[in-house]
Structures are given as structure tokens and as C-alpha cells.
Symmetry: C2
Subunit: 396 residues, 2 copies
């Protein structure tokens, strides 16, 4: 029988896609160059220049039966070693290939990690504002996502609410730092306090509470920002990583699960991921893309434009009277809307050719997201529009 669940979902529409759609309609009317589309979090800088050379060298030198052949169910051993070595070198934790499982981006990593350490009926806790896809990821594992209200205005963690909500059914806590949509990076103090709480609660409840750390923006941290490596602070951390943003390869679907080597049963969790793949129909990311990622393990695209855009936009918006926490990384900013209804505000912004996304679907009504992964030239041209919008709301 046609699944009623998935059929029903067709009626729902992602708010991000809805706003992006409205931007496209506008672009047809007034021209793409006149629409300031801040709706989608798609990298705006190309992949590193040597990417093509690496692809071509692999094609020219590797036996095609190996290059395009089945990788073992955990991912290509050589690539898992390259990733473990890099993590070990950069963050001084003793990762080995046994702690690494190759996945189709961070989404695939979350699908595996959640099924490995969360059982049907258990709970996963995350913090608003949060990436809305965490809901299906968690439900896909048969579990329930509980959202802790935002810590306003800093967008760190609301520990009072966390202490109230964490309970015996809590199997994992899911964080995303640097954060989509706030752009905020959790401080060392935040991570220490979270780690201490999770350790105490694990003891109290008599079972490990895992910390799932969704880190696609790990490499996009701005100068001088305190950006702790989460796994260094909590032994039962599982990283869900993606090369989408760091190498500007979102369509190539490449990432990994990295279980903290200090985690109980790290290698077993990785082995379990290979079993989980059999149920989700995953069976490893593309083999050539795995090799490419391994070869480019410590490289990134030129990510400097994101910091540049962030500084310009933050300065301008605060000058205009918007209230906003300054981003520490990513390519997102999450200001407060000047009226309570951010959905109405974003509708109004369209009149100024600004495509913004209301914070409601991130669990944070009254705020809006700006994805400033755009050309700086275009960002500059949008500033007068923000000024008009601010004026319309009596901000400046």
C-alpha cells in the first residue's frame, strides 16, 4: 500500500524552499541580479583549484576496477586512515581508521550514528535554533526529538531547561557548532558545562548519554573566535562530518562518522554502522569521491568571503538597529525580527527584494535567517534594501 506517512508529507513544504521559490518568482519578474536571495545555504565559492587535477590523476593512474570498485562496507580503508591521521594531527586525539565510517555527507552520518546509539522509543535532545531536518533524521531511527528553547540572546545552551528536560529516556544530545542558523560557535565554557552535565546524568541514569556533534561548518570559524573541538571534552562524542561546505562539494555527498577513540565500544559502533547501511540502502559514498576527499583532507576552498560578508552585514544591520548575535562562523546570521511575527516580516522583506527565512521552522519564532553565501558585490548592493526595510519598521 502507498505509504500514508510519506504521502501526507508531500503536503508539507520546507519554509526554506518556499521562500527560495518566492525568490525565484520574483527573479522572473525583476531579473535575477535584482533579487537578494539569502534563503539557501549553498556554498558560493568554488571547490579548491587543484580538485580537478586530483580527479584527473586518480582517473589516469588508478586501475578502474579499484577506483570504481566496491569499497568495503566501512568505506575505503586508505581514506579512513587519511581522515584518522588528520584528526589525530589537528586535534591530538588518538583516532585510528577503526573509529571512522564513511558516509554520504552529514545526513548519512546522522542516519547511521542515530541508529547506532539511539533505540526506538528513546529521546534525542537538541537546542533551538536547530536545523529542521533533525526531526526526520531522528524519527527515521524510531526516536523522538526534544527541542530545548533558545538561550536568548547569546544562542549558547539554555542549561536550566536542559536540566529539566533530560531524563532516563535521553539516549543522545545533538549539537551543531558552528551553528546553522545562528552562526554562533559554542564556547569552551559551554562545551565544558555540557560535558559535565552529560557525565553526571549518564551516571545518574546508569547509561551512557552520547553527544552527537554535527560539524559541517567546523572549518568555517572566524578569526579570534573560541571554537573548541567537542570530542576533546566529552569521551562519548560521535562526530557527524561533511566535506560539503569546507570543499564546496555539497552535491558529492561525502562525509564521515568519527567515534571518539575514548568512547566505550568505538570500533564496535563503527562496525554497527556497516550493518545499519544494509537497512537504509546506503552502501558507502561514491568510491572516486572518497579518494578525492582523502587526497584533499587538510584543504579547504577559499572560505574567507564568508567572514568578509559576515563582518560587513553584521556591522550594517546593527547600525540600522537590528538586534543580532555576531556570528563566529558558518555563513549564517540570525537577527531578531523587528515585529513578533517573523513570517510576516519575511513576506514584507520580499517587497524590498530581500529573500529571508523566518526562524519559526528552526524552533525560534521572532528571528530570521540570512544565508550570506553570496558574492560580496551583491551583498553590498543589498545594503540599501536592508536600510529601507529597517526604516519601514521604524528601526532607523
Amino acid at each position: 500500500m502507498i505509504s500514508p506517512k510519506f504521502r501526507e508529507m508531500l503536503k508539507g513544504e520546507s519554509v526554506i524552499r518556499k521562500m527560495s521559490g518566492k525568490g525565484n518568482v520574483l527573479a522572473e519578474k525583476i531579473g535575477r541580479e535584482n533579487v537578494f536571495d539569502y534563503s539557501i545555504g549553498n556554498p558560493s565559492v568554488p571547490a579548491p583549484e587543484n580538485l580537478n587535477d586530483i580527479f584527473k590523476e586518480l582517473l589516469d593512474t588508478k586501475d578502474p576496477l579499484t577506483l570504481h570498485g566496491y569499497s568495503e562496507s566501512h568505506g575505503i580503508l586508505e581514506v579512513r586512515k587519511q581522515i584518522a591521521d588528520s584528526l589525530k594531527r589537528r586535534f591530538r586525539l588518538p583516532y585510528t581508521y577503526e573509529d571512522i565510517f564513511m558516509t554520504s555527507g552529514a545526513a548519512g552520518a546522522m542516519a547511521h550514528a542515530l541508529r547506532a546509539v539511539v533505540c526506538p522509543g528513546e529521546e534525542v535532545i537538541t537546542f533551538a535554533p536547530y536545523f529542521p531536518e533533525y526531526v526526520p533524521y531522528t524519527e527515521g531511527a524510531g526516536a523522538v526529538l526534544k527541542v530545548i528553547p533558545p538561550d536568548i540572546p547569546a544562542f549558547q545552551i539554555n542549561f536550566d531547561m536542559l536540566e529539566k528536560e533530560i531524563n532516563e529516556k535521553t539516549a543522545a544530545v545533538l549539537i551543531n557548532t558552528p551553528n546553522n542558523p545562528s552562526g554562533v560557535v559554542y564556547s569552551t565554557d559551554t562545551i565544558i558545562r555540557l560535558s559535565e552535565l552529560l557525565r553526571a546524568k549518564s551516571k545518574e541514569f546508569g547509561h551512557t548519554i552520547y553527544l552527537l556533534s554535527d560539524e559541517p561548518y567546523r572549518e568555517i570559524v572566524f578569526e579570534g573566535v573560541d571554537a573548541p573541538f567537542v570530542s576533546s571534552f566529552y569521551e562519548n562524542t560521535i562526530i557527524c562530518y561533511s566535506f560539503s561546505k569546507s570543499l564546496s562539494l555539497p552535491g558529492e555527498r561525502i562525509g564521515y562518522v568519527a567515534v571518539n577513540p575514548a568512547c566505550e565500544d568505538a570500533a564496535m559502533i563503527v562496525d554497527m554502522c556497516a550493518q545499519i547501511s544494509r537497512f537504509t540502502g546506503h552502501n558507502c559514498p561514491s568510491s572516486i569521491i572518497q579518494y578525492v576527499a582523502g587526497e584533499m583532507i587538510d584543504e579547504t576552498s577559499d572560505l574567507s568571503v564568508y567572514e568578509k560578508n559576515s563582518k560587513i552585514l553584521y556591522e550594517e544591520l546593527t547600525k540600522l538597529g537590528f538586534s543580532c548575535q555576531e556570528p563566529g562562523g558558518t555563513f549564517y546570521m540570525f537577527p531578531k525580527a523587528p515585529i513578533e511575527d517573523a513570517i510576516a516580516f519575511c513576506e514584507e522583506a520580499l517587497k524590498y527584494h530581500l529573500v529571508l527565512v523566518p526562524g519559526d521552522s528552526f524552533g525560534c519564532p521572532g528571528y530570521f535567517r540570512i544565508s550570506y553565501c553570496v558574492q560580496t558585490e551583491k551583498l553590498m548592493r543589498s545594503l540599501p534594501q536592508f536600510a529601507k526595510l529597517a526604516k519601514a519598521y521604524g528601526l532607523s
Copy 2:
């Protein structure tokens, strides 16, 4: 909590991998060249020669932000069109891009198709001998796989048993033709009879019974063999396709779901697949691999070696006294073991340096699988070993 289900699975081991492992141990003792490893179904011919040129042209000419960018959630529109056009041209059914959903190989296709048309608690019927991964694929969708005993010796469909087992809970029937492990292709008569039965039973039970057609071996059919295009015979057919075998790209994880345009709600099923991805953490195959597959849509590797190997091996084995249905395609053969216990027989075969897989895990005890995707020269060298093995069992 660590999932007891997936932890428990670590104790089980695939029989195919177990035999392959024994082959590797043997290879370390007597040298790889002296071991005749027929355990794994891995293409032995390289990808087509122009593959590298196509890769390089894409890298040189396409904007990297497009080439490596997010594809829309159904897959890249242009590639979906190329696939639909090819199916339309080759099989004269009016496919459009709306009937196509891009997946990570046939495994990904099955994961999506099963979740779309089978609800938790419902049943999926398949026919022995069958690919053992059908069990987790089906269980992943919350359903139960029911296996119809083999139709011996022809390995077509045991219709008497099917009629007994099909019932109100049957949501889908899953076939694989050309078949792994038997190598047999279902005849036009078989497909017509199956279609008629499914139509009658759909009517009787008041709901559509979908036919899931797993077709990774569609392009590997030997000369003169009757190989009907399943979708032409039954309107509610969903193809699960992979380019793994046709283009020798198993590690690149590229395939598709193609819903028969005559199927009720074809476009809706494809739309639902895009929702299902959100729960399995799938989010499309690699973008560059999608473009490559689109460009090579009607090409294949040089697949002639499989037919050549099949003829040589079939002739020799039957001459030696083995009983075997002649393969019509694939690179598998599934002879009867000369003793009841095929596991013991395959253990014994190792003494003759032959790595074979017992049929038990394919739901067909007493038979064994030979994956003859090997160099013909090596296959020739293995024939005297088969002769000795036959003699040991008094066959010749």
C-alpha cells in the same frame, strides 16, 4: 543506548564474505594465482574506455558550483530526462523525468521503492533463490519478506506456492531477472503469468500489489535468450536499477527508481521517494556521477566475457556430470551440489582451490553459486580442478 539489534547482527557473517575470506587465507598459502575465487559478484571488466574522457570533460567545462552543487531532491533533472528518454526509446513505454528518481545504486532504489509502496506490518513476496540482502532491505521498511520455494530445476516461478502464499497483507512482489544467483532470465510466459496473477489478486484484495523489479543485470543477457522488459507487462511495476554491472562502476553507487508511467500515481511515488530520503539520510547520489551516468546512458562495458565464460563453464560442468540450469544472463551459475549438504560440498571444494558459495543463504540449500566474473584464462585453468572435484564425488 547502543542498539541491541545492530550489535547482535555483528555476530552473523555473510556466507559470501565468509567463503571469500577462506579464499583469501588460501591465497596467502598457495598464491593468489592458484586460487579460483568464484565467491564475489564483482565486475571483472573495466568501465568503458571513454569514461575518463567524459569525467574530464565535465570537470573542464561545467561550472564547479553546478557540477558539485546540491542536486534537487529527486536527482539532477537533466539526468532524469536522459534516463527517461533512453527507457522510452529502448522499451517503447512513455517514461518522462517525472517517473525517475536517482538513487545510490539498486540498494538505494530498493530502500526507497519499498518504503513508498509497502507499509510497516505488510508483506513482500520474493522467490528462491534470492539475493540475501532482500531481508534487511524489507525489514528496513518495517515489512516482512516471505520467500516462495524454488521452481526446480528451471528456476522460473513456483506459481502453485505463490498462489498459496499471496494474501491480503501482500503489498509487493519482488523479482530479480536476470537472476542472482541462478543466472536464469524469467521468460515472457513467466512474466505474463505473474502479471495476470497480480492483477487478479489486486482485484480480489481490493488494493494494488506492486511489482518491484530489481534489474542490475538487465544489460547482461546472452544471445538468443528471451528477456522481456517486465514493465511492459504489468502497469504497477517499479524498476530498481543500477549502473554497477553495466558500466562496471559498483563503487560509484549510482542507479535509479523508474516507476511505470502507467502506474497509478507514478509521479506521486517519485515525489514520495524524495521525502523518504530525509528519513534514511540519503539525499541523492554524487552529482558528478549522476552526470557521468547520464552521458553514458546507452553504453556498457565490454560484457562479452561473461557470456564466453558462461558457455565454457556450463559445457564443462554438465560434461562432468553436474546438474545445472543454463544461465541466460548475469555472471552467475547455480548448479546442484552432488551431495545434499552444499555447505560441506563447498568446504570440500576449497581443497581443490575452488571458492564456491553454498546456496543455503539464497534460500536454496543443495545448490551452489559460481560467480564467473573472472578472466577467461583463469577460468580455463580452473576446469581441471572442477574435474577432480567431480571425480571425488563419483560424478565422472
